[in-house]
């Protein structure tokens, strides 16, 4: 038995045209950008989508059906705060109808016990709750919402009480890195089955706030060891997944396990993206579920084919043994740090920009900038 995230067998027969891509496994459905929290590393774009531009219930239902038909297995209902949508119950029911595994990714501050019961009754499979820190003081300052931490704890207890499996997710940076052992304890105490220790990835809001978030190198290395030890100690009790802090790494991450390879994103307004930050890359036109079928977009949208597979890679990546391990790293990071999305990910030690990235990280880690909180109508720099 193999973990499918690792590799699916490819048995496409191609004639003259490009081979047909394997269907995606997972879909991130960003139901809304509305959120009571203002985390300065939010994965949403700087220009947030307004409520009036959001897809309606029936369009989402259609998207879920199309996703299931093309082979998607899991849907992550995300945002913003997905519970800001009054039709969340209906959307979960629609996932269930299509046989999709539904995962709710929530801040957990605006879901009452009664609402949670309704979501569970609709057939929700799993809840992923974000915490911004392991104490009210840190959590509420990063989320910029007093009282948020206490509400999250109450919500987490309701989730386990209802009998739904709980994952705790925490984005890690300079202001909460020291709380990793406390986050592990919190996850155990709340009865979570899984904990995500996700070092901030610097796109969008986090890129804006990099000088306020970047942790020093030594602390990052220490944190990695702590997580490893906790994982070993809690085997069988708590699954710990880590997203690595790649500015200090030697090798790039396999971003999304390859562009247009295993997953896709649908934005609140219906645009379909290979990843959160793909819209930052100039020259790519992303198609919308209002105009095209999901499978058609996955297969034929030139933006999905732009960096799919290995043909687009620079020579040094094409001749590298790791080309189908890290898939050239991250396109958005190549763009953000070199100005060119077709470059190899500059985190790679073979990149001519590698040393610059290290210098940048060390410089930002030594600064003391204030947060620029995530808000609507914040004009881009």
């Amino acid at each position: 038995m193999t973990e499918a995230m690792a590799e699916y067998r490819r048995d496409t027969v191609s004639s003259t045209a490009k081979p047909v891509p394997q269907p995606p496994i997972g879909m991130l459905a960003e139901l809304t950008h509305r959120c009571p929290l203002q985390c300065p590393y939010c994965s949403n774009p700087i220009e947030l989508t307004r409520k009036r531009e959001e897809l309606d219930t029936d369009t989402w239902r259609r998207v879920f059906r199309q996703a299931a038909d093309m082979g998607v297995l899991q849907v992550h209902l995300s945002g913003g705060e997905p519970a800001a949508r009054p039709d969340l119950e209906a959307l979960i029911a629609s996932c269930v109808e299509s046989g999709l595994y539904s995962n709710l990714i929530t801040a957990g501050v605006n879901i009452s016990r009664a609402r949670l019961d309704a979501l569970a009754d609709a057939g929700l499979d799993h809840v992923q709750l974000s915490v911004q820190g392991a104490t009210a003081e840190v959590n509420d300052r990063i989320a910029n919402l007093p009282g948020a931490f206490d509400k999250k704890l109450a919500f987490a207890r309701n989730v386990t009480d209802v009998g739904l499996p709980l994952t705790l997710n925490s984005v890690i940076h300079r202001h909460n890195l020291h709380q990793i052992p406390d986050l592990v304890e919190l996850a155990v105490e709340l009865g979570a089955r899984r904990l995500e220790i996700a070092h901030a990835q610097y796109y969008g809001w986090a890129l804006e706030n990099r000088a306020a978030l970047m942790p020093p190198r030594e602390q990052v290395m220490e944190a990695l060891e702590l997580v490893e030890a906790a994982r070993e100690r809690l085997k069988g009790k708590l699954v710990i997944d880590a997203v690595v802090p790649d500015y200090y790494a030697r090798l790039p991450k396999p971003c999304m396990n390859g562009w247009g390879r295993q997953s896709l994103n649908v934005t609140p307004a219906g645009k379909v993206l290979p990843c959160h930050a793909a819209e930052t890359i100039p020259g790519l036109e992303f198609w919308n579920v209002r105009d095209h079928g999901l499978n058609e977009i996955w297969r034929d949208n030139p933006a999905f084919n732009a960096y799919r597979g290995t043909d687009w890679m620079p020579d040094s990546c094409q001749s590298c043994d790791r080309r189908e391990i890290d898939w050239g790293g991250c396109r958005c990071q190549a763009l953000a740090l070199t100005g060119d999305a077709t470059q190899m990910d500059p985190v790679c030690e073979l990149s001519p920009y590698h040393d610059e990235v290290q210098v940048l990280a060390i410089r930002d880690a030594g600064r003391d900038d204030d947060f620029r909180y995530r808000r609507f109508a914040a004009a881009p720099r």
Binding site: M1, T2, E3, A4, M5, Y8, Q22, P23, I25, G26, M70, G71, L73, Q74, G99, Y101, N103, D125, H126, Q128, G163, L164, P165, T167, R193, R194, E196, K235, G236, K237, L238, V239, D241
Partner: protein, 96 residues
């Protein structure tokens, strides 16, 4: 019969809430869907897991498999227990 301290033939296991076994028509075969994870099952894993219903003991399942596949029971027990223990470590199976 050798027994593992963690999992006895008399134990009953189940697939917990939040984990689902289903066919994967698009790619062929069966999968176990778990939080942020998809396990692709080989035909043997599928035969074992479709028999996990939260009521039958591991011994019952092994008997059933031994009969269905005309294979030595001891060998099946060893393999099945190793597989189930591995899934328990990954938090996608639990003892009732």
């Amino acid at each position: 019969m050798t027994t593992s301290p963690e999992l006895q033939p008399t134990d009953t296991v189940r697939i917990p809430r939040g984990v689902r076994l289903r066919e994967d028509k698009a790619r062929g075969g069966w999968v176990l869907l778990a939080p942020e994870r998809v396990f692709q099952l080989d035909p043997i894993a599928r035969e074992v897991l479709t028999r996990v219903d939260g009521e039958r003991t591991i011994a019952d399942i092994v008997d059933d498999l031994a009969a269905a596949f005309d294979a030595p029971r001891e060998r099946i027990l060893t393999d099945v227990r190793a597989m189930l223990l591995d899934l328990m470590t990954k938090n996608v199976l639990e003892v009732v």
